[in-house]
């Protein structure tokens, strides 16, 4: 028995999400009285693997091989499933991000394992095995029983506190032979935005809606975000109209995020928008309309014009930062 957690790396590095996964895996292993094993696939920078041990995993499998530098869903599914079988894993954990969403359902079929996705808490019970997950786009939560002997969980980002253990884990190096004919996804080009805080990783997000009035008005919003080390986001009409890029669109049909603090500036707070941000710990709303539904979701609100309030917020943040 074991809990196997797939810890993806980004250009050879791990990030907070990886440590959330490791923390969660070691907790579930405790609940099941077993060990947690992290699986890393592809090259990582020196010293990165060791970091996972700090969050309680007992063993780290470092799988290397040609053809593992780009995600091919079939190849990665096979690699993870093979290690899951070898380790006798009864729980397999992945992130509920693009990669996790691509792999978890394939693994589910491969291992005949039921899947609970977008889980935001530890399992409510292990016998029966019941997980707590988002349902109806954030308007409810479901207690989902996974009936199979092997269970797959995908963990919602920013939903689980890190548990530092200051422990170390053993590292096992494994070479994986990838059958080249199995690789079907051929990556032609990679485009990355650099130097920006990723929306899904951010602790603080500053988001603008149609109440910002024009794409030319974004400078103070971006300045506020920069000062706070925050990511910028927007409502759907803002990205539909091309005022901001699609990658910033939050909500039911955009990104689903759970930062500590979410600023909704000139956003009315439609159900479909809130569906993507309602797991934020705190929401601040700035809106000219005191009856805007966004104030029902917010803990702090300012009734006022975004163009007047934003520069004042920038000044106030500068003041605390200079102290």
């Amino acid at each position: 028995m074991a809990v196997l957690v797939y810890t993806e790396n980004w250009d050879g590095k791990f990030k907070k999400l990886s440590f959330e996964l490791a923390s969660y895996a070691s907790k579930v292993a405790e609940m099941l009285n077993t060990n947690s094993v992290a699986l890393s696939i592809g090259k990582t920078e020196a010293g990165e693997l060791e970091k996972l041990g700090n969050y309680g995993v007992n063993k780290i499998i470092n799988a290397q091989g040609e053809g593992l530098d780009k995600l091919d869903n079939q190849v990665f599914t096979k690699v993870i499933a093979d290690f899951a079988r070898k380790e006798g894993a009864t729980v397999i954990l992945l992130a509920n991000n693009n990669t996790g969403k691509a792999l978890a359902p394939r693994l589910s079929v491969n291992l005949k394992a039921g899947i609970g996705s977008g889980v935001s808490k530890l399992p409510l019970s292990t016998s029966p095995f019941v997980v707590y997950k988002r349902a109806y786009s954030g308007n409810a939560f479901a207690k989902l029983q996974i009936k199979t002997d092997i269970r797959i969980i995908t963990l919602a980002q920013n939903s689980f506190e890190l548990i530092e253990k200051n422990a170390s884990a053993s590292i096992e190096n494994e070479t994986v032979q990838v059958d080249k004919s199995m690789v079907k996804t051929h990556v032609q080009e990679v485009q990355k935005q650099s130097g920006k805080v990723l929306l899904t990783d951010a602790d603080i997000v500053v988001s603008g809606g149609r109440g910002m009035k024009s794409p030319d008005n974004w400078a103070p919003l971006v300045e506020l975000a920069d000062l706070l080390g925050a990511a910028t986001a927007c409502s759907r009409p803002v990205s539909d109209e091309g005022w901001r890029g699609h990658e910033e669109h939050t909500g039911q049909t955009g990104k689903i995020i759970a930062p500590n603090l979410y600023f909704a500036i000139g956003i009315s707070g439609a159900t479909q928008h809130l569906a993507g941000v309602s797991s934020s710990k705190y929401i601040v709303a700035v809106n000219t309309d005191k009856d805007a539904p966004v104030f029902e979701a917010a803990q702090y609100g300012i009734v006022g014009d975004a163009q007047k309030v934003l520069p004042k917020l920038v000044e106030a943040v500068k003041e605390i930062k200079s102290k």
């Binding site: 869903n73 954030g138 996804t185 500590n260």
Partner: protein, 249 residues
């Protein structure tokens, strides 16, 4: 090329969901059912590809696993422009059950590209498309935000953390689509609505498949504390509260 678009039938996205039977079942009374938003975009993109003769797309079929009560949603997909539809006559019991039924549809009808949405807005599972691809042993690409067919090849943009990749995949393939795949969902025109009435919906009986999961119950989100209002002339106070009261700065 033949495209299959898998559609899910979900409550309208503005629905305030309620539950009955001690929070075990959705209260379906008064609910307006719609095509899952991503599936609507996926259908739109499939039809755009078919409109462009250079892609070689010959037909767009929609498939749905659900009881007869879902037919208005299927008719809507036909009105938007799908050529025909297949309904597997069963309650969509869980993701694995649904994917298994769809896999059978693909095996018997032979499609080259199967399109699924990244999630359905009711169970938020993000699972059916991936499961389907593994059941069929087809390649899959997820988080697809752009899809073209050039010289018989499927050219995809997929989102990765902090960027995107352009990838080529051979057919048959399962693509799992998200935001960006089409700008606005295509709307049914009057002519489409008329034509939809005579388009065929093939009804298939389900395979016997065991479910892997079961909903034990639902919970409503915790109500949030009431909003504290701060004077618009004094945003400094807000920053102070975020720093010292909420402790998030």
């Amino acid at each position: 090329m033949k495209i299959l678009v898998c559609i899910s039938n979900v409550p309208d996205t503005t629905t305030r969901v309620r539950f009955v039977d001690d929070f075990k079942k959705l209260d379906a009374s008064g609910i307006q059912w719609v095509i899952n938003p991503w599936d609507e975009l996926s259908l739109t993109r499939a039809l755009e590809l078919k409109d462009d003769a250079s892609t070689g797309v010959k037909s767009v079929t929609v498939a749905h696993v659900g009881p007869a009560s879902a037919e208005p949603t299927i008719r809507k997909a036909l009105a938007i422009g799908a050529d025909d539809a297949i309904r597997v006559n069963a309650e969509p019991a869980d993701a694995y059950y649904v994917a298994s039924q769809l896999a059978e549809v693909v095996k018997t009808e032979q499609f080259d590209m199967i399109m699924c949405g990244i999630e359905s807005s009711d169970h938020n599972g993000s699972t059916v498309g991936g499961m389907l691809s593994e059941l069929l042993n087809f390649p899959s690409v997820s988080a697809v935000s752009n899809l073209k067919i050039e010289n018989g090849q499927v050219v995809i943009n997929r989102e990765i953390d902090g960027g995107k990749e352009t990838v080529l995949v051979p057919t048959p393939v399962v693509v799992v689509v998200q935001k960006g795949i089409a700008k606005e969902p295509r709307i049914a025109a009057m002519r489409g609505i008329m034509m939809a009435r005579t388009k065929p919906i093939k009804v298939l009986e389900p395979l016997a498949v065991d479910t892997l999961t079961e909903v034990a119950g639902y919970e409503m989100p915790q109500p949030r504390a009431a909003c504290k209002f701060i004077d618009a002339e004094n945003p400094k106070q807000l920053i102070d509260m975020l720093q010292n009261e909420a402790k998030v700065l």
